[in-house]
């Protein structure tokens, strides 16, 4: 089945999300769709799945114009979407999730789970998906959950599969397996749209590439004619440097030390299991690992957001195992949290207010009970200039900034004071390429000023690019440590450790 988008325009208020977009999707072909966050990729795909309808232009399926006006319409026409955030009910089994909405039934609406299971097995067989039909979704790894999503659209006999950032949550080895599945689907005559912002993946898997920037198609071509640099330029609109320039580290004294730290969750499972790491001044230490292997908890332990069950944390020679968050903060620990909306900023507060969230109580801002807003605004304005936060005024809500500027605001607040240790968790998540470069430079800058820097990221490239030393976390444990002076750690070996296996094939 072929699908064509012809002159599609979609506006949200005054924002033009898609501007006269033309795109062709062909059967038996993988179309790579490249673009930054907010470039309009998701809007476009949501129109294909029927979630939105275009303001102008036409969608043609096999040459015939179609109109979608509900979320079910896309899939009915044979266009299935695999969302970046899985649309799976965690407490349902695989089979229940797959058949939801198109259930095989017997008399009186009886749900025929036997038939459902059989149908799931058939698709499993046909495309080599190996998904256990009776497991609960919450018991499955992210990689398998993704296959359930694919199974779901295949079950609805989709001929076009849209995969929205499918590799964001996978280990390098899982990505490899995933590409195998994509190729099987392609050979079976399915049309595939592969959405991503990772350049090397596009070059590896797609047959054709389209690049989207600010709602417009800014480049098209075939992978064999293109390099990563070409693609990046089309995506960002200017040449981009891929590596952060940095000198060899000159580590000094031990800044942070964790000795046998363990943490339990509410159900007494060990989320951190005897973790020991050190961070010295003047070095960047990276923690690599697939999301959900204890990185979040590690950061919570270091910054004091969660109680540790055992072990010892030392910060610049002092035992801080049970120190409060503010005590650690005052000692010079900066924290860039993994989810800025949850714990890094208050969306509805102004930029000025957000800039002093961590030291509004300091004498320079607080006179007795009152806060000196004049002073706060001046400081915030200075931070905005220093850290390239682009805003017309510091009195606008923090939430009104773009993702990149929000993150730079958080980084500014955390780094614009005397620090000894910077704990940065997912520092560039949901941030545009320009801001990524900038934030990386500032983190290296902190290192060169003699801070210890701990970077926790699920983007392996980010960890490899910035760190002088790398720990790998798996299942709440540190499973490996690599020396990465002058980038000598091997991507593959690190990737294998992330999957919890050494030497042999990853699961």
């Amino acid at each position: 089945m072929d699908v064509e988008l012809r002159g599609i325009t979609k506006r949200f208020g005054s924002v033009v999300a898609n501007d006269n977009v033309n795109l062709t999707i062909r059967a038996g072909e993988v179309l790579g769709l490249l673009g930054e966050n907010g470039a309009g990729k998701s809007t476009m795909m949501n129109m294909l799945s029927g979630l939105y309808s275009p303001d102008e232009g036409q969608i043609l399926v096999d040459g015939k114009p179609v109109e979608f006006d509900g979320p079910g319409d896309g899939i009915e026409a044979g266009i299935g979407m695999v969302h970046q955030h899985f649309m799976l009910v965690p407490v349902f089994t695989v089979a229940e999730n797959v058949v939801l909405g198109v259930e095989p039934t017997g008399k009186m609406g009886y749900l025929d789970m036997k038939r459902a299971r059989r149908q799931v097995e058939e698709i499993n067989e046909k495309y080599g998906l190996h998904v256990p039909p009776d497991e609960l979704i919450e018991e499955l790894s992210v990689g398998i959950q993704q296959r359930v999503e694919i199974l779901k659209v295949l079950f609805r006999s989709a001929d076009v599969l849209i995969l929205d950032e499918p590799t964001a949550v996978l280990t390098p080895q899982e990505v490899h397996e995933f590409f195998g599945i994509v190729n099987t689907l392609k050979e079976a005559g399915k049309a595939i749209v592969f959405i991503t912002h990772k350049l090397h993946e596009i070059l590896e898997i797609s047959d054709r590439v389209s690049v989207l920037r600010q709602g417009r198609i800014t480049g098209e071509g075939y992978p064999k004619d293109l390099t990563e640099a070409d693609l990046a330029e089309m995506m960002v609109g200017r040449p981009v440097s891929f590596t952060t320039a940095k000198n060899t580290a000159t580590p000094g004294r031990t800044m942070l030390e964790l000795e046998g730290v363990s943490m339990l969750d509410e159900t007494d499972d060990r989320v951190l299991d005897n973790v020991s790491i050190t961070v010295r001044s003047g070095e960047v230490v990276g923690v690599a690992g697939v999301q959900g292997n204890g990185q979040t908890e590690l950061v919570e332990a270091i910054t004091g957001l969660e109680r540790i069950a055992s072990g010892k944390i030392t910060f610049d020679g002092e035992n801080i195992s049970h120190a409060s968050v503010r005590e650690r903060h005052k000692m010079g620990m900066a924290h860039i949290p993994e989810d800025r909306h949850k714990s890094g900023m208050v969306d509805s507060f102004t930029i000025a207010e957000n800039m002093v969230l961590n030291n509004y109580y300091a004498p320079e801002y607080s006179k007795g009970w009152a806060i000196d807003w004049q002073k706060v605004a001046e400081t915030a304005a200075r931070y905005c200039v220093d850290f390239d936060v682009r805003t017309p005024s510091v009195f606008l809500p923090g939430g009104s900034l773009s993702g990149g500027n929000q993150q730079k605001m958080v980084v500014a607040r955390e780094l614009e004071r005397e620090t000894k240790l910077v704990v940065a968790s997912q520092p560039t998540r949901g941030v545009d390429v320009g801001s990524i470069e900038y934030i990386h430079e500032r983190l290296i800058g902190s290192r060169d000023e003699g801070d210890g820097v701990l970077i926790v990221s699920s983007e392996l490239d980010e960890v490899l690019g910035l760190s002088d030393r790398i720990y790998v976390m798996y299942d709440g444990r540190i499973v490996a440590e690599f020396d990465n002076t002058d980038g000598k750690a091997d991507r593959n070996t690190v990737g294998l450790a992330m999957a919890g296996s050494f030497g042999e094939d990853a699961a």
Binding site: M87, V89, G101, Y110, S262, A309, E481
Partner: protein, 422 residues
Amino acid sequence: MSDVTMTNQTQAQKLDSVAARKARIMGGILIALALLVIFVLHVVPGESATFRLTTRRDAIQIPDLVVPGAFNYVAAALLAFLGVRQFLQGGARWTSLSLGVGLAILVMAFLVWATAGKAFNLTSMLQAAVLASVPIALGGLAGVMSERVAVVNIAIEGMLLAGAFAGALIGSLLGGWIGLVAAILVGGSFGLLLAVLVVTFRMDQIIAGVVINLFVLGVTSYVSSQVFSEYRFLNNAKVFRQWEIPFLSDIPVLGPMLFDQNLFVYGAFILVGIATYYLFYTKNGLRARAVGEHPRAADTLGVDVYVTRYVHVTIAGMVAGFGGAFFTLGNVGRFEENMTNGRGYIGLAAMIFGRWHPVGALSAALIFGFADSIQRKLALLNTPIPSEFLAMAPYIATIIVVAGLVGRSRPPAADGKPYVKE
């Protein structure tokens, strides 16, 4: 792999775990209960408690159950054993079970103490317990139906009260059956109202529920004090009689409990069965649960989240309306101000204790009904405990059960959250 250091971490650590702490607390509570039984629920030696299991009219007679007062020493010993065991070993998965068993022993010891030297009809108390659990079970079931589609239903109390009122008024004018239908329809319309408020207008679900409760309480209290007191024929409905089921009702103890009851008791059991089948074995049940767990996923698969919520919340209202009619048409035939007296809220507790499952809600309701009927019967036995304290029993049972036994149970993931289409 020369530059790779593998860290080997197998050494055992002593961890201060949450479960261990909870087990210690529970152990302490059990030991305290043992002391309570020894010193407060002390039975004079030689006295014994007589529990009657059948009445003279019954077809099959079984002898009375006579428990010697020494039973309470055994009970205290058992409690102490459970408590010490908890304290020393840490209970892990036995913690809740120990507390449950401990509470059951406490109740038995309490009954023996209260009845010592007297006789007490156990079967009639159990029969009354089942009856008392009906509105709670139906309220809980209404809660299950609406919370399974992620609408928190505080309004059950108001729906019960509205059902009771409509049942009494229409039942007095047009007869019991029409009164029953009216109660169900009125309950359903309050369900519909709640759906309009929280689904369409995305009003805060708790506030919407409280508003409905206050509205129903105000209107029904006004009418009953101003109109019913004047025109008594408007508030004098015929009550549904007990229907004895042949043969089954002759079984000792169980017969009177389960097979010699009125329409509402049978209705509650049948509805729980239907709801279980519907939610877990049918296509629409699967969709409803999906809407409660992950509405966005359901939406992308073509399930209409709004319609699903409307339908289920309305059905929940109808169930609660039926439960409300029990107070008037199934019991006294008359409406009184605020006669539901918090049963709707206890129904919600039963739903939580029952882990959002119809059968669970029913079981929890039976426990609450038991607590309720125990206090009524004991008030007649002249125990030294003031009856006001006894009247607290159902609520204390609620607190202990929800806080202590249930612990963390998991509501539908989207519970209480309005759904906004993209």
